[in-house]
Amino acid sequence: MADDRIKEKLEILADAAKYDVSCSSSGSDRKNKKGGLGNTGAGICHTYTEDGRCVSLLKILLTNHCIFDCAYCVSRRSNDIKRAAFTVQEVVDLTINFYRRNYIEGLFLSSGIFKNADYTMERLVLIAKKLRQEHNFNGYIHLKTIPGASDDLLNEAGLYADRLSVNLEIPTETGLKLLAPEKNRKDMDVPMDYLKNQIIRTKEEKKIFRSTPKFAPAGQSTQMIIGASGESDMHIMKTADHYYTEYNLKRVYYSGYIPISNDKRLPGLGSDVPVIRENRLYQSDWLLRFYGFKRDEIVNERHPNLDLDIDPKLGWALRNLDQFPVDINRAPYESIVRVPGIGVTSAKKIVAARRFGALRMEHLQKIGISANKVRYFISCQGFVPLMSDRPAEMIKHYILAASHTKYKKVFNQQLTLF
């Protein structure tokens, strides 16, 4: 029956798409035009998978048929798996019907490459176009751009999609050569560069002509697989940094490699997914983008890898104890936000609240700051840090002993292997 077939297709093509970790529906503010359907900007997670990841978009492949054979990918042509392909109309119907029931914020459509890049890209674009034009759909659309697709198609994709992404897959060029010999970095750089320029041009034109159509208003993002090809965190962050600055990426996603085969070039089946490392990379990424840190403060030749047992901000602080204690009532915002245990929101609250009088530890606790972590790094009214002159190792020990890190359980599981 047709219904059974669509159920099976959905299972196959959602399963094949799940390795792309990004599910963000943010960065766009498409309004619901002329009483149509949907809008963006709310960035809602409609549910969470059992691994705790946000489900915001219907994330599927158009097909998992692929002419390529990338070692790290389940859809590679040499893999003996069930294959399926949606029709354009099927994807449109699924999206609209899920959206109307408030299951999703929109569609994240990717695909294996069948026949060739243009043939595949054309279909992705057609789906987005139908949604926008025939259904007056203003929800979120994220399209994967297929490396090698023509500029015309990329351009059209940008007119309908909120976000476009080209995945880098492997952080280093040598790693990519090893695992996906049919691909090379240039195939990814070329479309990224084209999109970057189109995005900039549209923004400029929009300043002059307000009617200029939107072009990928949520920008472009990419994803790298972590832990498949032996590179250090410094390598990974260097690559991320490069793409953030050279291509104006909105986000770089890090996806811990999930073992899918016994290919000798890769970590074997049953090895652990590096979830903690992935999380540390996200934390570092945030430190660079929102906390004013420079990359070489977080990773450098001497510290090429992030600590797994503590977060990168605490790691940095322990290596730079001479910059502490920070006086909560006098220090500039930039220094306060660097204190381990104080986030951007708390730092802003501190700066706002201290105008009404000197802050004490009780005030900080009420704002939601845990004394356990900050006490080694700050001074405030009525509180002098007694232990900030202890060696870094000892402070780290105290903090770890008193805290229950979110990942403790996972971490212990991993430790038992040694």
């Binding site: 799940k18 969470y48 705790g52 029931r101 408030n102 005030h363």
Partner: protein, 257 residues
Amino acid sequence: MQQRTTLSYDGSWVGLLTAIFEVYEYKFDAASIQQMAQADQGDLFGARHEVHTDHAKAERVKKGVINRVGKKDFQELYAAYLSELQGVEDLILRLVRNYLAPDGVGLSQNYGHEDVLRIKQINKSVSRERHRFKAFVRFRKLSDELFFAKIDPDFNILPLIIPHFRDRYADQSWVIYDIKRDYGAYYNQSEVVEIHLSDLPSEREIMERGEDKEALYDELWRRYFRSTNITERKNTKLHLQHVPKRYWKYLNEKFDL
């Protein structure tokens, strides 16, 4: 000691603002505001004052507060009222008095102030709940083209999520019904009206009135949810943190798992 006056109001927001107005109007120094039902069991020895909801008076309080501290802080008071927490009326009254006092401008930024801190905390909880229901409402399409959803929130957040759903689903008729408070919002593709269903359609009726394709999309969504999961990364603790069990009853993807 000054005698304490208990003002009783009808439980509506306009009623609460009227009560605040009357605290000023009648110069009650020590005042406490309670919903009528609760006020009856209140302070036996204090004085009573019954408030008659009055839009003009309420409007003046609203204007006064907004002029002084701005829309955002006024909105915070409203969200706190929707929390329906015990004693929240008195907190709101104290804050309004503080805001309208000569040094009230900017007070809402003083995180060292107990009442300010409290209202921020309440707002955080209400806002979390509001956000969750934007996410967790699940519509079912009935045969008459109506999209229907039931909710059962801890706080009375329905008024706070209406604008979101009205903007998003402008081209479909929908009902979001709060079964705990027995009222709902019905959007008929031009405006949102309040409704009270004396007999809410039962689960069975909804299933029966459901459109042919309803069962299919329900099933597709559940399969999607299962297929998008990565078992190698299972993290139940994190999952529960995001989707606390008390919301599961509304999430079709969580049924029979």
